[in-house]
């Protein structure tokens, strides 16, 4: 088997697997969005810190409860009202307070140590991605190259494994919060401010992220996926994303494109290689290759996409995308066309 063929075979399996994972992720299997299921160095150090904190706090709780129930249940003695008893109690309360301070010092040190590793990317060759939040979707733009080669990938962040990825985050409207629990903690996206965070995935996989700051009607449906893949696959992906949209291959696709370009779709969406060039909504140049539609809300199947295009308000009430009044045949053609944008 030639290297190329093996690669294609692997890729096919990987795509199948990732689709499988995606349908789980979209909406996710248990623990997929769990902070205690870390898949990268940042999340891992927070996870260990979390276990440490919970263990210490658990022990403290048990000790206090033991003292509490002992205080309630103990046999009362005539000597309880004696000054010596008060002195002994004072000693014990003082001791307990000192121990409390010591425990808190330990917790603080553990926290600071874990925090130090989180502030800046570790390791060379960091990739930079610009994250822009909108009500209620995410835009990821790869800006490491000359501007003509910029690639945007709405609601789906592809990253190479084993490399820190620096995220330059901002918001177009209200405050959102970028959060992929398997990889790192949150970073708020505040209009008027640009800040940086980073993440790194240790192994290939599809991780779910979700907006964590209340941002209005569809805060609940503002998710995205992070696809972590080996560097060469990532390079292939990004090279593919740089291509303009594929030309329609069939009559129905051609009809679909015509309908698309003549309908309201173009007032918000871009399909590179066509006249559709608006940046109000997510870019659709390669929408057919994405795992989800409607910001991580639905798996990207023909059925779900159809429902979404026909009436987004039924799926995400309050969403900025208006319902569509296309004739059934036109809708099917548009669907076929959009699905072909791989």
């Amino acid at each position: 088997m030639s290297g190329g063929a093996r690669f294609a075979w692997q890729r096919a399996v990987w795509e199948l697997a990732s689709l499988e994972v995606a349908s789980l992720v979209i909406a996710g299997c248990s623990g997929n969005q769990s902070m205690f299921n870390p898949q990268g160095p940042a999340a891992r150090s927070i996870s260990s810190l979390g276990w440490t904190l919970l263990a210490i706090c658990g022990v403290v709780y048990l000790l206090v409860m033991v003292a509490f129930f002992w205080a309630l249940a103990r046999r009362r003695l005539p000597s309880d009202d004696a000054p010596e008893t008060t002195r002994a109690l004072t000693r014990n309360v003082t001791l307990a307070s000192i121990v409390t301070v010591l425990v808190l010092v330990v917790l603080s040190v553990a926290s600071v140590v874990a925090g130090r590793g989180l502030t800046s990317p570790s390791g060379p060759g960091a990739l930079q991605v610009e994250v822009t939040a909108h009500q209620w979707w995410w835009d990821f733009q790869y800006t490491d190259v000359t501007p003509s080669d910029y690639v945007t990938s709405p609601n789906e962040l592809h990253i190479p494994v084993g490399v820190p990825v620096v995220l330059k985050v901002r918001s177009r409207d209200v405050i959102h919060s970028f959060w992929v629990p398997n990889l790192h903690g949150k970073r708020d996206l505040i209009p008027g401010q640009i800040t940086h965070t980073w993440m790194q995935a240790d192994r290939p996989g599809v991780y779910r992220g979700q907006c964590a700051e209340f941002c209005g009607h569809q805060h609940a449906h503002m998710a995205f996926v992070v696809v972590a893949e080996p560097m060469d696959e990532f390079r292939q992906w990004i090279a593919h994303q740089r291509q303009p949209a594929s030309e329609p291959a069939t009559d129905e696709e051609r009809h679909g494109r015509d309908v698309f370009l003549q309908s309201t779709c173009v007032t918000c969406h871009t399909v590179r290689g066509t006249d559709a060039g608006s940046h109000v909504g997510p870019e659709l140049t390669h929408v057919g290759s994405r795992l989800t539609v409607a910001a991580g809300t639905l798996p990207n199947t023909r059925g779900h996409l159809s429902g979404w295009i026909a009436n987004p308000q039924a799926i995400k009430p309050g969403s900025r995308m208006p319902p569509n009044s296309l004739a059934a045949a036109d809708l099917q053609a548009v669907l076929t066309y959009v699905r072909s944008l791989r």
């Binding site: 623990g31 205690f36 810190l49 505040i190 941002c215 805060h219």
Partner: protein
């Protein structure tokens, strides 16, 4: 002062007859002087702290029930994944109103209301300082609360969260009037909260019975003092921020508009500078309730009085140093954030000290376990969980994961329900005999406790785990594949028990009010002054203002304890004492009932609500507000001081 061992002894009424006839005459005259007016106008003119306090408490519980129903609706919506019971618009209104109402219209007012009722009694005063301001504050609170309730009922409630972050709550992203109602609700409740805080500080500092030096102040009074100062220093920040918001929305200023040089983060600093002290404003009074109940039901002075009082004061100060721990994810500089981690960890030290002191009190005392005590013991089991989860939240890395997840929801419900609502309900059971003259049903109270305790933990404990599993707050639904369904269903099941517990509480209180066993003056053999007068207390509180001889005023009272004489009984004359040692310094006259505070509150309400719609509300309402204030402060007619009225005599101590 007789120094006795740390042991309670049975106490009787403070009013021992000096001379039977003289006593009766005095009683009649005081009753005439401190009358509570009748009729509709009279009902609205009441300035008596007990009546206003009870109305305050009942109203706050009314809002508690309303906000509780909203919580139940949320639990129905979240019980199963992909639920369509509530849409996003209604859900967002409901969670916003739930939070807003619980914080601004229940938790803070009910604690202040308890202070309004109890503090004057505990310090041996005849009424609260500035009694008309007190009435005014109640009506403003009531009207502000009714305004928010109405917006919820007509589907126009605020929907940007109880924290109303801009720009979401700003003019561009919340058109309509929803956020304006929120901002003005803040104005209503803050003005009333500030008024009560000022009254309480004045009462505590200047109206204490002689002998009640600061180091004999009951711990409940200490906690109300600290709370009042926290209100005074924190509330201006939120009034400022909500006024800026209103200006942005109404007249197009750009305080929070980054496109015009405003700053979205400014809101968060101002809001949390108030918002974190706010939770201590709710929690600190509960500390006082706990100390009171533990003292009474262990029949011993509480262990570590000084440590407890100083811990409360320390908490009050540190409460202002931790606000940025709500903003760890905003990208502020690391060094600055670390300071707030340290402060947030340090604030758990005074709380720890208090818990150790109470455990020592329980260890040393002779605990009895009626319903109020059970609620306080439940506090230990619940609150300590919340306190410890609070310590974990102070850690920046950990917070970055659990911030804005259900872990935080679990945390603050453990702190606020465990730390404040359980002691509060215990406090209501404890002081009910004093307030109404009737006992509650203790067996029912105990059942009430267990139902609430189990229901609470079933509802909120699973939320810790949901937070770890990545469930964010404030989402109106979630996909079934996330695996959050089971724990959410469990939480909703627990909420059913909480509703049952709430109904039991209301039933017990209402039935006891109507047909409860008649209460003795001091049914629990408690130590603080309010138990030294009748149940319910007479309109003038104390026939003779007592002279306090120890920390546990009733337990430490000598057999032939002196009382204050020489205070006029034909007008509302009260004794003013020194701040530190409560030595008598002078006398003053408190104002009587008046309809003007009510009228002033009506025109103030018209102004506040009007200014939601037009800036002209300000200039237009200046005149009616001025008129009502002139009526309010109109000097008393001179004939009341005419010759024939008994002249005040020099203060003296009469020994029986």
């Amino acid at each position: 002062m007789p120094t006795e061992g740390p042991r309670a002894r049975p106490v009787e009424r403070l009013e021992r007859p000096l001379d039977e006839n003289a006593e009766t005459r005095l009683h009649r005259e005081l009753e005439r002087t401190w009358y509570v007016p009748r009729g509709v106008v009279g009902w609205l003119s009441v300035v008596d702290h007990r009546t206003v306090g009870k109305r305050y408490i009942a109203t706050a519980f009314g809002f508690f029930i309303f906000a509780g129903i909203l919580a139940a609706l949320m639990r129905i919506q979240l019980a199963v994944p992909d639920n369509h019971f509530l849409g996003p618009d209604l859900y967002n209104q409901i969670f916003t109103t739930h939070g807003t109402m619980m914080m601004f219209l229940f938790a803070v007012p009910v604690m202040e209301a308890l202070g309004v009722y109890l503090v004057p009694l505990m310090v041996g005063a005849r009424n609260i300082a500035f009694p008309r301001l007190n009435a005014y504050s109640y009506y403003l609170f009531l009207f502000g609360g009714l305004m928010l309730t109405t917006t919820m009922l007509v589907n126009s409630a605020p929907d940007a969260g109880w924290f109303s972050y801009v720009p979401l709550a700003g003019p561009d992203y919340t058109p309509g009037k929803r956020s304006d109602f929120w901002a003005q609700m803040i104005t209503f409740t803050e003005v009333s909260a500030l008024a009560v805080a000022v009254e309480l500080v004045a009462t505590i500092f200047k109206c204490r019975a002689p002998g009640m030096t600061l180091n004999r102040l009951p711990l409940f009074v200490w906690s109300m003092l600290v709370t009042s100062f926290m209100v005074i220093f924190s509330m201006p920040a939120v009034v400022t921020s909500s006024t800026f918001l209103l200006l942005d929305r109404l007249v197009g200023t750009h305080f929070y508009n980054p496109a015009e040089g405003g700053d979205a983060l400014l809101w968060q600093h101002l809001f949390w500078f108030f918002g974190h002290p706010e939770v201590y404003i709710i929690f600190v009074p509960a500390l006082g309730i706990i100390s009171s109940i533990i003292t009474t039901f262990t029949q011993r002075p509480v262990f570590g009085y000084t440590a407890l009082a100083m811990s409360v004061v320390t908490t009050g100060f540190l409460g202002f140093a931790v606000w940025v721990h709500h903003m760890f994810a905003t990208g502020l500089p690391q060094l600055g954030l670390s300071y707030f981690t340290a402060a947030s960890i340090v604030i758990s030290i005074p709380t720890g000290v208090q818990i150790f002191c109470w455990i020592a009190s329980l260890w040393r005392g002779r605990p009895r376990y009626p319903a109020p005590m059970l609620f306080v013991l439940g506090f230990f089991a619940i609150f300590i969980v919340g306190g410890l989860s609070g310590v974990t939240l102070a850690s920046i890395p950990f917070d970055l994961q659990v911030h804005d997840t259900y872990y935080v929801v679990a945390h603050f419900h453990y702190v606020l329900i465990g730390g404040a609502v359980f002691p509060l309900i215990g406090g209501i059971y404890y002081w009910f005999p004093k307030m109404t003259g009737r006992m509650t049903d203790d067996a029912l109270g105990k059942l009430n406790f267990w139902v609430l305790f189990v229901g609470f933990n079933l509802t909120f404990f699973p939320m810790h785990i949901l937070g770890f599993q990545g469930m964010p707050r404030r989402i109106y639904t979630y996909p079934s594949e996330m695996g959050w369904g089971t724990l959410n269903l469990l939480a909703s099941g627990g909420a059913v028990l909480l509703v049952v517990g709430g109904v039991l509480f209301v039933y017990n209180v209402v039935r006891s009010y109507v047909a409860g066993e008649v209460a003795a003056d001091n049914p629990w053999n408690a130590d603080t002054l309010e138990w030294g007068t009748a149940s319910p207390p007479p309109v003038y509180n104390f026939l003779h203002i007592p002279i306090v001889e120890g920390r546990n005023a009733l337990w430490d009272r000598s057999v032939d304890a002196p009382v204050v004489t020489g205070i006029r009984s034909d007008c509302r004359e009260v004794l003013i004492t020194e701040v530190l040692d409560a030595a008598p310094s002078n006398k003053t006259e408190f104002p009587g009932p008046s309809i003007w505070p009510f009228l002033a509150s009506v025109v103030t309400t018209a102004f506040f609500i009007g200014s939601i719609f037009t800036p002209w509300a300000l200039p237009v309402s200046v005149i009616p507000i001025a008129v009502t204030l002139i009526g309010w402060f109109w000097p008393k007619s001179p004939e009341k001081d005419a010759p024939g009225a008994r002249k005040s005599t020099e203060l003296r101590e009469a020994r029986a």
